[in-house]
C-alpha cells in the first residue's frame, strides 16, 4: 500500500528528509517500522528495539499494531517535548 511518511525533529535531521512516499509491504505500523529498519544505518539505529519514537496515522498517535488506511498520512517522531 502507498503511504506518505513524515519525519520530525531529531528523526527528520538524522534521516535527512522531511517526508517521503513509501510503498509498504504489509499494512500495520509495525510493518512500516520493520521495513524502514531494514534500510540499515541511521534507520536501524533510530527505529531499533528500545528506542523511543511515536507513530501517528492521519494525525493521531497509534500503537504499532494499528493498520493503515490506504493513502494514509503517517508520521514518525520522537516523544514530544513542548509546553
Amino acid at each position: 500500500m502507498k503511504l506518505r511518511v513524515l519525519y520530525f525533529a531529531r528523526l527528520r535531521e538524522r534521516f535527512g528528509m522531511t517526508e517521503e512516499k513509501v510503498e509498504l509491504v504489509g499494512s500495520t505500523a509495525a510493518d512500516l517500522v520493520a521495513q524502514l529498519q531494514a534500510r540499515g544505518g541511521v534507520w536501524a539505529e533510530e527505529l531499533g528495539a528500545g528506542r523511543a519514537f511515536r507513530v501517528a496515522v492521519n494525525q493521531d498517535i497509534v500503537t504499532l499494531d494499528a493498520s493503515f488506511p490506504e493513502n494514509a498520512e503517517v508520521a514518525i517522531f520522537p516523544p514530544v517535548t513542548g509546553g
Binding site: 513524515l6 520530525f8 525533529a9 531529531r10 523511543a52 501517528a56 494525525q59 493521531d60 498517535i61 508520521a75 517522531f77 520522537p78 516523544p79 514530544v80 517535548t81 513542548g82 509546553g83
Partner: protein, 157 residues
C-alpha cells in the same frame, strides 16, 4: 461551554496574558474563576546553560491534538472558556512559550482543568524543542516526570 468559546492558536509571535484573560471575561458576569498558566524558556536545563531554543511542530496534527485535548477537558469539568496558545520558532531565555487559560464558575474546576491541559499537552501535542548550549545544539529528551504528571489524571476524579 457554549460552542466557539475555545481558542487554540499556534504562533511565532509573543502573546499577551492580560489581553487573553480580559477577552475571556469581557462582557460576561457568569465567570467566577480564571486559572492560567504561562510556561517560559529557562536559561538552564539538565545542568547546562541554554542560550536559545527552537520549537518545531507538526502543523495540522498540533491543532487537531490540542482541539481533542480541550474537548476532553470540557467534557470532564464544567468550564466556560478555554484558551491555548503555543509558540513555535526560535525563543530566548525568559520568552513565554505556552499559555493556557481556563474560565469556570468555580475555582476548583478552573485549576484542575488548566493543569490537566498543560500535563496532557506535554505528552500529546507534537512540539519538539532544540536547545542551543555552549556544548552545541541538542534536542530536548522527553521527561519521565511529564509522563508521570499526565498519567495521574487517569486515576484522579
Amino acid at each position: 461551554m457554549k460552542p466557539g468559546s475555545m481558542k487554540i492558536v499556534i504562533q511565532t509571535d509573543a502573546f499577551d496574558l492580560g489581553a487573553e484573560v480580559n477577552a475571556m471575561s469581557q462582557g460576561r458576569t457568569d465567570i467566577g474563576a480564571i486559572a492560567s498558566f504561562v510556561g517560559l524558556a529557562r536559561d538552564m536545563n539538565e545542568g547546562s546553560g541554554v542560550q536559545a531554543m527552537t520549537l518545531e511542530h507538526y502543523p495540522g496534527m498540533t491543532e487537531k491534538a490540542l482541539a481533542t485535548l480541550v474537548e476532553e477537558t470540557c467534557a470532564r469539568w464544567a468550564l466556560l472558556d478555554v484558551t491555548v496558545i503555543h509558540r513555535v520558532g526560535r525563543l530566548l531565555p525568559g520568552d513565554p512559550i505556552v499559555l493556557v487559560a481556563v474560565a469556570s464558575s468555580h475555582r476548583g474546576e478552573a485549576f484542575a482543568a488548566c493543569e490537566f491541559v498543560m500535563d496532557a499537552l506535554k505528552t500529546r501535542a507534537p512540539f519538539w524543542k532544540k536547545e542551543e548550549t555552549p556544548e552545541g545544539e541538542r534536542w530536548v529528551e522527553a521527561r519521565v516526570s511529564d509522563n508521570t504528571a499526565a498519567a495521574r489524571w487517569d486515576e484522579l476524579p
